[in-house]
């Protein structure tokens, strides 16, 4: 099966029309010695065979339908209502491309316009684009935009050490050729292991600073109060820089949006909004900013207009910002984005609405707090996180996190927390646990029970388990 429709007779007829004998003749421009190389790939499979093989391959994974998951750290296990996949499976949506021709793309365009509107509502911003590749690149694009807003005159980027480590890394990758200095995220600057030292960040602000970025709730799940962040925002603005906030969009269903505490740009990972966890992608980076910066946004923007009959319609707009027009003068090179993931996010937000989203956020909050308090009461476990936190919290384990996680996985069918020692050496022995609406009380109690036994079970034979999953 090759998905090509031609019969040999049709191929011959077409070759005759072109005026060549053999299809090989069409490749005369390819250097002869290098033409038609040997390519060794596995033999082709029928649809039945490939599906069997993929089924087998996928089942060799431990997946979240069969294991209890308390792992988050930037990729989240949230419920996806059935309608979401039904909508994004409509091939009118997924087999189209960028809506360059608006007359035959109103479906895509209107869904993006609605998505932009919902992201603005969530973040408290006035303009949002059609998406970036993920939360990390969205943050990198915020940096590019801040530098562009300063007309390239500012060269310093201040990152909080409580931003997702991979986002900070991505910002550094993106900017390595731009002559910027990226500062502020030395983990040694954390107070009591995981607390953000806002004064230390503020002290770095100067007239060369393009932007200062914080994550709220931060990588450890903790939240700063709007009042404190507003103070930080004021200091950032005082220095003539931009204040960028990265936020878990689910948290924004319940907590004060960054627009209310002085953010100029709000970015984040949109995956929690109706997108499969899918081993890290495809996800979407949402990106929103204040109105005054809209002409500096990268990527696709959809705007409202009218057709020749005066009917409302939507188009890609402000295209003069983009690479296909500005070429080497563009501030970003983004072309394809994550449109279908943004569609999923839009359908998710529409389905949940303001009440549903708030309910999800509350469930996460209450369940995480319940889990944290139960674990904190266990001998040998220490809750490092302090109030307020959202759906993630840090626990110091009585033994190495990797050891304990293997025990949880092998003996209890639990996917444990993120091993913070991997990137924060001073937090070796600490795990970042995540609880969402997907974790029932029974599942949380099961985790607590597993942790209780872990302390003495690990040393001995790991086989003496009583409770199965």
């Amino acid at each position: 099966m090759t998905y090509v429709p031609h019969s040999q007779a049709e191929r011959q007829a077409m070759l005759a029309a072109i005026g060549v004998d053999r299809v090989e003749d069409l490749f005369a421009d390819v250097p002869e010695a290098l033409r038609f190389p040997k390519v060794s790939l596995p033999e082709p499979l029928s649809e039945l065979e490939i599906l069997q093989e993929l089924q087998w391959m996928s089942e060799s994974n431990a997946d979240l339908d069969h294991y209890a998951c308390f792992l988050g750290a930037g990729a989240y296990n949230h419920y996806v209502p059935s309608v979401v996949d039904h909508v994004i499976s409509r091939s009118e949506f997924y087999t189209a491309y960028t809506p360059y021709q608006p007359e035959v793309s109103q479906g895509t365009l209107q869904t993006i316009f609605e998505y932009q509107s919902m992201i603005c509502a969530l973040t408290g911003m006035e303009a949002a684009n059609a998406s970036h590749y993920d939360g990390a690149t969205s943050m990198a694009e915020a940096v590019l935009m801040a530098v562009a807003v300063s007309r390239g005159r500012r060269h310093k980027v201040i990152l909080s050490p409580t931003i997702h480590p991979e986002y900070r890394e991505t910002v550094r990758t993106y900017t390595q050729g731009m002559g910027l200095t990226v500062v502020g995220d030395d983990p040694g600057k954390l107070r009591e292991g995981i607390d953000l030292d806002l004064e230390a960040l503020k002290a770095l602000l100067d007239s060369d600073t393009a932007c200062l970025i914080v994550q709220n709730p931060d990588f450890f799940g903790q939240m700063e109060s709007p009042a404190v962040l507003q103070e930080l925002a004021d200091a950032v603005h005082e220095a003539g820089a931009m204040f960028v906030v990265s936020a878990d969009p689910i948290s924004l269903g319940l907590f004060t949006p960054p627009g209310d505490y002085g953010a100029d740009i709000v970015v984040g990972e949109g995956q929690p909004l109706g997108n499969a966890i899918s081993f890290g992608g495809p996800y979407l980076g949402y990106f929103a900013c204040k109105d005054q910066f809209k002409r500096k946004i990268a990527g696709r923007l959809v705007g409202e207009t009218v057709d020749t009959h005066g009917r409302r319609g939507f188009v890609l707009t402000l295209v003069a910002r983009e690479q296909h027009i500005r070429r080497e003068k563009a501030t970003s090179n983004i072309c394809s984005n994550q449109a279908l993931c943004a569609l999923a996010a839009g359908v998710y937000l529409a389905t949940l609405g303001k009440r549903g989203l708030r309910t999800v956020a509350e469930l996460c909050y209450h369940k995480a707090h319940y889990a944290a308090s139960q674990i904190a009461a266990l001998e040998g476990y220490e809750l490092v996180s302090k109030e307020p936190f959202f759906k993630e919290f840090v626990v110091r384990f009585p033994r190495p996190v990797s050891e304990l996680n293997s025990y949880l996985l092998d003996e209890w069918g639990i996917i444990g927390g993120y091993d913070l020692g991997r990137v924060y050496p001073h937090l070796a022995g600490c795990a970042l646990l995540c609880v969402t609406e997907m974790n029932s009380k029974g599942e949380i109690d099961y985790l607590v029970e597993a942790l209780t036994t872990a302390n003495f079970q690990i040393e001995g034979s790991a086989g003496s388990r009583e409770v199965g999953s």
Binding site: V4, P5, E10, F27, E43, L45, E47, I50, N61, A62, D65, C69, V83, H86, E92, F93, Y94, T95, A96, T98, Y100, Q101, V104, Q106, Q110, T111, F113, E126, T137, L144, E166, T170, G177, S225, D260, A276, F279, G280, G281, P282, L301, V302, V306, T308, R312, G313, L318, A320, Q323, H324, S332, A339, A350, T351, L352, R355, H366, Y370, I415, S440
Partner: protein
């Protein structure tokens, strides 16, 4: 035919989702941190489905008809790919799980890396970049890191042919390089004289799209590679057009040092209304250690192994330990994630658009080497056939055998006052999606047509006839074109108005 905004069908108190009750004791919410207002729509599940289904019906996609958007490879998206990516064993895995618990995912990624290496001739591949432009950024950063690693800091220029896509110069600028435009010659190749004149020790590299955006295979590709290499530069390949080359030529053998693939073009993964795509990057051995990561490597491979034939890694592992137990055999096939030694760093979080990788993997396994070669051959056959059917009616600025696409020079000259945009809009009345228009920039009024291999002769003939009919209309009744399209859900939209006073979101009506 228009559809109200989802906000306009909102009714206070509605919710389209049912959620479980809270089964744990509640914790007081932190004071002063809870928001009081959130203007999301409030609709029922039926409202949601009807709204989005009706919106979908205003769209045109590959599943509806011919979508010859040049440079985008709008081939058919096999349905088995969709099933594959949704298998819960894949879709319900977390990126930070213990590698031992996601060996299925790592196997798929490792094998896809190997397949892309085999098709392109490169020594190593990273699957991390999320799209073509993201791959370009990655590739140019790799070129930069390579020069820096040699202490070669005088290279400040990136050479880019004038036919290149806008992402090429934009990616170049993001990496701190200056773009130097290289002219095309009369046959649509890179102008060798112009290239030679710009080749010196300040050149970091050349970004070449081959076949280029005119759909032409550069007749001097080997000389170009030599010229760039002899001044110490590297050759970057924009792989957007790799659909012409599967099993036809391996870019690494043509002299490319680094190239991105577009899985959403060549490897049949859907375009999603603008994404997600996937833009893996392949490199030659000397660049392998600069790849972004993590990439997937055999668990037993020595530290820093990033590429070369897979068998080697296994052999090496076996020699290394000398164990031959069954458990060991399993260990030998185990895979892990590793960061190349001098990596430019990660270009996004996690490992790439995994769901898209599954679709590309599925496609490759279903077609096999011969099927892929057949796909490229038929893509080129279809483009040449269509070009021959149209070239007597529309101007063809570069009249040569084309590869997988070709570029016409606008409407027939006798159709006064009619522009490419008018032809494009009129095509919609005939039920077709228009081609790419006004790109590449070096062709005035460009109409860039890429039929792809999944279209039948009957479809190509129908499209050719529509184009020929439109050429006639353009002369007899130009206003028919100026006012087109006539049968679409909306007519031409006022783009100037949209840009002058941008309305980028719905604003709740004031309640006072």
């Amino acid at each position: 035919m228009t559809e109200p905004l989802i906000f306009e069908i909102s009714s206070p108190g509605r919710c389209g989702a049912s959620l479980p009750a809270c089964d744990v004791p509640r914790t007081p919410l932190p004071a002063g941190m809870v928001r009081d207002d959130l203007s999301l729509p409030e609709v029922s599940e039926v409202d949601v489905i009807r709204h989005y289904v009706r919106l979908s019906q205003l769209n045109y996609g590959v599943d509806k008809g011919f979508y010859p958007l040049g440079s985008c490879t709008m081939k058919y998206n096999p349905k088995v790919n969709e099933v594959a990516a949704r298998l819960p064993g894949f879709a319900r895995t977390h990126p930070y799980q213990d590698p031992d618990s996601v060996q299925g995912n790592l196997t798929l990624m490792f094998e896809l890396q190997e397949y892309l290496k085999e098709l392109s001739g490169f020594a190593a591949v990273s699957l991390q970049p999320a799209a073509g432009a993201h791959g370009e950024l990655t590739g140019v950063l790799i070129i930069r890191a390579y020069h820096q690693s040699r202490g070669d800091s005088k290279r400040t220029k990136m050479l880019i042919p004038d036919s290149a896509h806008g992402t090429n110069p934009a990616s170049t600028s993001m990496c701190g390089y200056t773009t130097v435009e290289i002219k095309s010659d009369a046959r649509g190749n890179v102008d060798l004289e112009d290239l030679r004149a710009h080749c010196d020790d300040t050149v970091a590299g050349l970004m070449l799209t081959n076949p280029n955006t005119l759909g032409l295979f550069d007749e001097h590709v080997l000389e170009i590679a030599d010229l760039v290499h002899s001044c110490g530069g590297l050759l970057y390949g924009d792989g957007a057009n790799f659909n012409a080359l599967m099993g036809i030529a391996k870019p690494a053998q043509l002299g490319f040092d680094v190239m991105h693939f577009n899985l959403h073009k060549t490897f049949s993964t859907p375009h999603g209304g603008g994404g997600p795509g996937s833009g893996p990057v392949g490199v030659s051995q000397r660049l392998a250690q600069f790849l972004p990561g993590p990439i997937v490597v055999p668990a037993m491979a020595e530290d820093g192994w990033v590429g070369g034939p897979a068998e080697h890694a296994d052999e090496h592992a076996e020699e290394h330990t000398g164990k031959h137990t069954e458990e060991h055999a399993e260990e030998c096939h185990a895979l892990r994630l590793a960061m190349p030694k001098h990596s430019i760093g990660r270009v996004k979080s996690f490992y790439g658009n995994f769901g898209v990788l599954i679709k590309a993997y599925t496609y490759i396994r279903v077609l096999g080497a011969e099927g892929l070669r057949q796909a490229s051959q038929d893509a080129v056959l279809n483009a040449n056939y269509l070009m021959h059917r149209l070239k007597d009616v529309y101007p063809l600025p570069y009249d040569r055998t084309c590869m997988h696409e070709f570029v016409l020079g606008g409407p027939p000259p006798e159709a006064e006052g009619v522009h490419t945009m008018d032809v494009a809009k009129r095509l919609m009345d005939y039920g077709f999606h228009p081609p790419t228009v006004y790109f590449p920039l070096i062709v005035h009024e460009a109409i860039m047509i890429e039929p792809t291999e999944t279209e039948s002769k009957a479809t190509l003939d129908a499209f050719a006839e529509a184009m020929i009919k439109i050429a006639e209309e353009a002369v007899i009744d130009p206003d028919l074109l100026h006012s087109a399209p006539h049968v679409t859900p909306v007519t031409r939209l006022d783009e100037t108005r949209a840009a002058r006073r941008p309305r980028l979101r719905w604003v709740p009506p004031r309640q006072d």
